[in-house]
């Protein structure tokens, strides 16, 4: 057994006699591109709404609640999909989020939210994770579509304009501080700052 392993090690170590160094380098380069591409394609697929709602946990609860909101249907026909709000577009953030998504696969296998009751019971915890994430990245996902630098406050309602002028321009608050529950129903809000 040990001698066999030694023999194979010798084969791997022996310099190539049939292929030129140039071919090996080039071949490695091509293979790299193919794998990199495949990796990207896999990420691309997991970045679609169809993928997200392929799980009934996502389809039955949050997706149904999104439908009547402004981010699903509105006068301009531009809409926000799940990954637009939940997966950061920046490459590094994207990977970090994908690693966390593995937790969801775990949740799927162990059925943490596989019934409506379990989902409602866990909703506050899930929502809090999202609020914390958006708070930490200064509501990056919202700002990918809504850049307040281009907001014309004179075209907004006075209520919106005064709130944005006072708290957004100064950087005192971020979108998620004031706009919780814009896409889904809210969990029990007791104890959340600003709610009662």
């Amino acid at each position: 057994m040990w001698s066999l392993a030694k023999e194979y090690w010798g084969v791997i170590r022996r310099p190539s006699v049939h292929f030129s160094l140039g071919f090996l380098t080039f071949g490695g380069f091509i293979a790299g591109i193919i794998f990199w591409g495949g990796f990207n394609t896999a990420l691309e697929i997991t970045n679609t709404e169809a993928f997200c709602v392929s799980c009934h946990e996502m389809y039955d609860n949050v997706y149904q609640e999104l439908k009547p909101t402004i981010h699903y249907t509105n006068r301009s026909g531009v809409r926000a999909t799940c990954p637009a709000c939940h997966v950061p577009h920046e490459w590094t953030n994207k990977i970090a989020r994908k690693m966390q998504a593995s937790k969801e696969v775990w949740g799927k296998i162990f059925g943490t939210i596989n019934t409506r009751e379990k989902f409602l019971a866990m909703r506050r915890e899930l929502a809090e994770r999202e609020w914390a994430r958006l708070k930490a990245n200064n509501s990056l996902e919202c700002r990918n579509c809504h850049d307040f630098g281009y907001m014309d406050f004179t075209r907004q309602s006075p209520r919106a304009a005064s709130a944005h002028e006072e708290f957004l321009v100064s950087g005192e608050k971020t979108c998620i501080d004031c706009h919780k529950g814009i896409a889904h129903e809210l969990p029990d809000m007791t104890g959340v700052p600003g709610w009662q």
Partner: protein, 147 residues
Amino acid sequence: MKTYAFIIALTTAAAAAWAAEPIATLRGPTPLVEQGAAPTMPKVSNEDLRRLRNYPEQPPTIPHHIRGYQIDLNANKCLSCHSRRATVDSKAPMVSITHFMNRDGQFLASVSPRRYFCTQCHVTQQVTRPLVGNDFIDIDSVLSDQN
């Protein structure tokens, strides 16, 4: 025979005349078997100007849109602006003291459960012409007319 024909002709004409006469119903003049065009949905008024109350006990109408504002066991979006502690940031008028009273006239520490569902009393207004006229006269006008 002739008289029969005459009677039939007369009743058909009468029926036709009767059918042609427009009868005002809520569903309009569209025949029963047809689907009439739906009237356009007016926009909710969102100009943020507080409106005159007709009498002191009137719940003021809401001068802003409330689309998607959740009011249920879990959350009350209205109170996130109108509660006592929220008004500094939101610039909204605080719910008045009557909203803290229970039915025995006792003041509670927070909004009374019977005032929790705001839209039971407060409603938005729409940008449209009223369907029926209104000749309400407020008490001040009544009193000044008496003199």
